[in-house]
């Protein structure tokens, strides 16, 4: 029984931490973010199992996690208010070829990262970008100016332009 509560607590705690950190941490693999993602399971694994390495405990923990994820997805789909509470809203980073500093600062996204995302979308100049949006999943979507092309850039920023 305790395992169920522990999984729920850890799920809520990690969700709250990631929600606090912001969208960029969701899909970043910059060194410090990679370290964070590697360490989190280390911290919680023992708290979850409590030296109980039985298959029963593992099944209870896994099904609890799957159930939470399923119920959360159902509630997010069904109720817009819950969806907005659980997920971050998109942040506009570039509008009609112009960087929007408030959004960039809030999300800690550098101009280099936007340019890198543009390059991955096959766009050379910022003037050719209608919208650059940091989506709730942490990826930057680039919408080309004057056209319908939309590029969802995988959030592996920092591997291109920074070199």
């Amino acid at each position: 029984m305790e395992t169920v509560f522990r999984v729920i607590f850890v799920y809520a705690f990690v969700w709250a931490c990631l929600r606090t950190l912001g969208k960029r941490e969701l899909s970043q693999l910059a060194p410090f973010e990679l370290v964070m993602l590697l360490l989190i399971p280390q911290f919680f694994s023992r708290a979850l199992t409590r030296q109980d390495y039985s298959m029963t405990n593992s099944v209870v923990a896994a099904t609890t996690l799957f159930s939470i994820v399923f119920l959360t997805s159902i509630a997010s789909f069904r109720f817009a208010g819950f969806r907005h509470f659980m997920q971050a809203n998109p942040t506009v980073l570039v509008r009609q070829g112009q960087f929007l500093p408030p959004g960039l600062r809030r999300e800690r996204i550098t101009a280099d990262e936007i340019v890198s995302a543009m390059h991955k979308a096959g766009i050379e100049r910022i003037e050719d970008v209608a919208w650059a949006i940091l989506e709730p999943d942490g990826k930057i979507a680039i919408i080309r100016a004057g056209g319908a092309d939309v590029h969802n850039v995988e959030a592996d920023r920092g591997t291109g332009a920074r070199q």
Partner: protein
């Protein structure tokens, strides 16, 4: 070149009606059932109590009814001398078939021979406690008995322990 729209394109509103596939309709209730049953203690540790009296012996046993693989639980046997005389030796024997299903078995007081503990000089109305520490090595259902003897009297208590995998 630049779009005249003041805000990025938004998603249309679609009625949020939940639809599940046939596999999901079967699998999801099963998925949800496990933690719900766990909350009701189905997969947790429970203890059983058993009590019996025979002639001059009163035996009360508290044993693990359910526990998990590689977890430690204790079995307590309380033996009371109901006679009016001092019992030189009261012998408490544990079923080999039962005890052998566990590992790291430790008796307190220590067993003199295989799974048998002798309690000496038990005064009238005095209770003595025998504790056994069990480590769940084999999963499944384990059944056995605890027998307390004094002279010609013997009290038998049946035990049943399920070890979750």
């Amino acid at each position: 070149m630049a779009s005249p729209n003041p805000s990025p394109p938004r998603a249309p509103s679609i009625e949020p009606k939940i639809e599940l596939t046939r596999k999901q309709r079967i699998g999801i209730p099963i998925l949800l059932a496990v933690p719900i049953l766990a909350l009701f203690g189905l997969f947790g540790e429970t203890r059983g109590q058993a009590h019996t009296t025979s002639g001059s012996i009163d035996v009360e046993v508290s044993y693990p009814a359910r526990f998990r693989y590689r977890q430690v639980q204790s079995l307590h046997v309380s033996v009371r001398n109901l006679s009016t005389t001092v019992a030189d030796t009261m012998r408490v024997s544990f079923d080999t078939a039962y005890i052998s299903r566990f590992s790291s078995v430790r008796f307190d007081p220590a067993a003199k021979s295989a799974y048998t503990v002798d309690l000496t000089d038990v005064k009238p109305s005095e209770s003595r406690l025998v504790s056994v520490e069990l480590w769940g090595q084999d999963y499944g259902s384990h059944r056995g008995t605890v027998v307390a003897r004094h002279g010609t009297d013997s009290a038998i208590v049946h035990l049943s322990t399920f070890v979750f995998p």
